[in-house]
Symmetry: C2
Subunit: 360 residues, 2 copies
């Protein structure tokens, strides 16, 4: 025990790993970095999330699902021979399906519908977090721009997905009464597809990463992909768990749901009655346009001209007064019948609510 | 007051805005969406952040600064005539400078150094959040891939930056004793550069957005850019303010600082003494490689082979035992002199600390 302790030299980091060592190193990246370790997934699987938090997850994750075949098409375009392309194109078939109503994207839409979303709202992706879009797009760009080896290695998170899927399906079925086996049908297919895809990609990486530099590039690509997944959960946690700061334009609980799944406070589609207290949704405001000498109602990327009557009503829409109280105030100002005014402005307010620039 | 209240029809959203109305609509996007409204900036300007939180901001924002001339070069490559390119290339000059030590990127490096960072650490960008990288890269890709009008319109956040800069410089100088006027020299230049750039881009957009569709595209591009900025602050807030969940590999307080700015617990460069309690940093662990029948020390993207002596020591490194206690334990096991062992293992442990796979 008196001998000095030799420690690894700097050149150790340059050593060529055997294919088995490389696989072990790749699996170790997953063991330390795969998103099953993220606190959001722990909450999801343990039944600690509210229905709206599960909805936020399903909605945002749809964008990832929808872009997977785009990513795989970009990769397919770079594969140099028919044999490789024949194998890889199966991934696109799996996600896009063989006919209308088939495929992984469709099954994820079913999941989103299963938790209450209107199909068109999910398809529009307008409620997703910018961080979701930027992370997923980073993945598509990575696969298009990096070396083929890195592009293929970045798909290796599939090696780790069977574990998380089993855990997720069991946990969600047990813990959420609004989740059914049909809702989670997406994951059934992935349990067989993912290992098949991962085996092929892992074999490719082990055969082609033949220098220390290429091996490090492959490990870097898998780390990058783990970050793509992790960053999406960070953003979900931030917006919908804690501190719960939903960025501008991102989905707000209540939005985009089908009628019978929507709570009473959902904007649009809900009929305002006289006792309701109308208010302008976040991001909508009235503004006087000096150049044109008239009032306009500004909504994100939409503008509505307002006539004098509409201005008079909207000036009283303050989130405090009910429709009846607004009508009474106007009746006083204009010395008119409050009941007649109330009927008139209900038509107008419901029209604005229909356009989603007013809510109750 | 008995007339029905006419409300704007759906076709209002298709109306062509006058150039002045378009400018008002663009300014309104800034008034609702620019990142001066983000809670992280309120904390930053009001002196509510710790020095480490300010460091996280400076470090991450460096990546944005460093990519701005890349973004502008991508845009320059798309401009169809010399007159436009002559104007736009000034942005690249502003950021890259005219000589070594000049330019906006250099001034941001000065800011990062001013709050304690080692220059090389900042330049490496290895400690930035993935969300920062994905957001900034989304901006570069947007400018490369969208229409020229959208690419130019996405730069219009410059219209709003003079306000935030004045507020920031005054607030930071007043509230942080570690911030000097020299540290913030970056912003002095931007106060004249940003309005000049914004005037040109705004004029271009007003002259070229000549249909309702193009006007909506320009507004969408500015909204996108606001999201690029906003998302970066969301991620900073999440990682370093609340809930304070720093993603794997992102900067940890203490890392990347110059010697005299580093607290005592900073890894690397610090000499372990016998009384210190060594431990493996996050992300580093010992693992038995069955294929090769030996132990290895796994660090992110680095692997070190370990001999039996190193394994014997590292098995006792548990974040509880001091170096002296480890030596005593080994002396007992191997019936050897604890003082001699202590001297030996201090050499070995300091060597590992130097490689940043051990810390105290």
């Amino acid at each position: 025990m008196n001998a000095a302790f030799p420690t690894p030299g700097a050149d150790e980091t340059q050593r060529l790993l055997s294919p088995e060592e490389l696989e072990a190193a790749l699996r170790d990246i997953g063991a330390r970095r795969y998103h099953n370790l993220h606190p959001f997934h722990r909450l999801l699987h343990d039944g600690k999330l509210s229905k709206d938090q599960v909805r936020a997850w399903a909605l945002n994750r749809y964008y990832y699902q929808a872009m997977i075949p785009v990513k795989d098409a970009a990769l397919l375009a770079r594969l140099p021979d028919a044999a490789l392309r024949r194998v890889w194109r199966q991934r696109i078939v799996d996600h896009d399906g063989d006919h209308e109503g088939d495929g992984g994207i469709e099954r994820w839409l079913k999941l989103a519908e299963g938790v209450g979303f209107a199909r068109d709202y999910v398809l529009s992706t307008k409620g997703i977090l910018s961080a979701t879009r930027f992370s997923v797009d980073a993945y598509v760009h990575f696969v298009s721009e990096r070396s083929l080896l890195e592009a293929i290695a970045s798909s290796l998170t599939e090696m780790f997905s069977p574990t998380i899927i089993s855990e997720r399906v069991a946990g969600m079925l047990k813990n959420y009464d609004f989740i059914t086996k049909e809702t989670l049908a997406y994951f059934d297919k992935r349990l067989t597809q993912a290992p098949r895809d991962a085996d092929f990609a892992l074999d490719y990486v082990k055969r082609h990463a033949t220098t220390p530099e290429l091996q490090r590039a492959a490990m870097g690509a898998l780390t990058f992909k783990c970050n793509v997944l992790w960053t999406q959960l960070d953003a979900l946690y931030f917006a919908y768990v804690a501190p719960g700061m939903i960025p501008p334009d991102a989905w707000q609980p209540g939005e985009g749901l089908v009628q019978d799944a929507a709570p009473a406070s959902a904007p649009g589609g809900v009929k305002l009655v006289a006792a309701d207290v109308p208010r302008l949704p976040r991001g909508v405001r009235m503004r006087f346009d000096q150049a044109r000498d008239k009032h306009v109602l500004l909504a994100p990327e939409r503008t509505f001209d307002l006539d004098d009557n509409a201005v008079a009503v909207l000036q009283l829409v303050d989130g405090q007064r009910s429709v009846t109280q607004i009508a009474e105030q106007l009746a006083q100002t204009y010395a008119a019948d409050a009941r007649v005014i109330e009927a008139d402005i209900l038509v107008m307010l419901n029209d604005l609510a229909e356009k989603r620039v007013l809510e109750r």
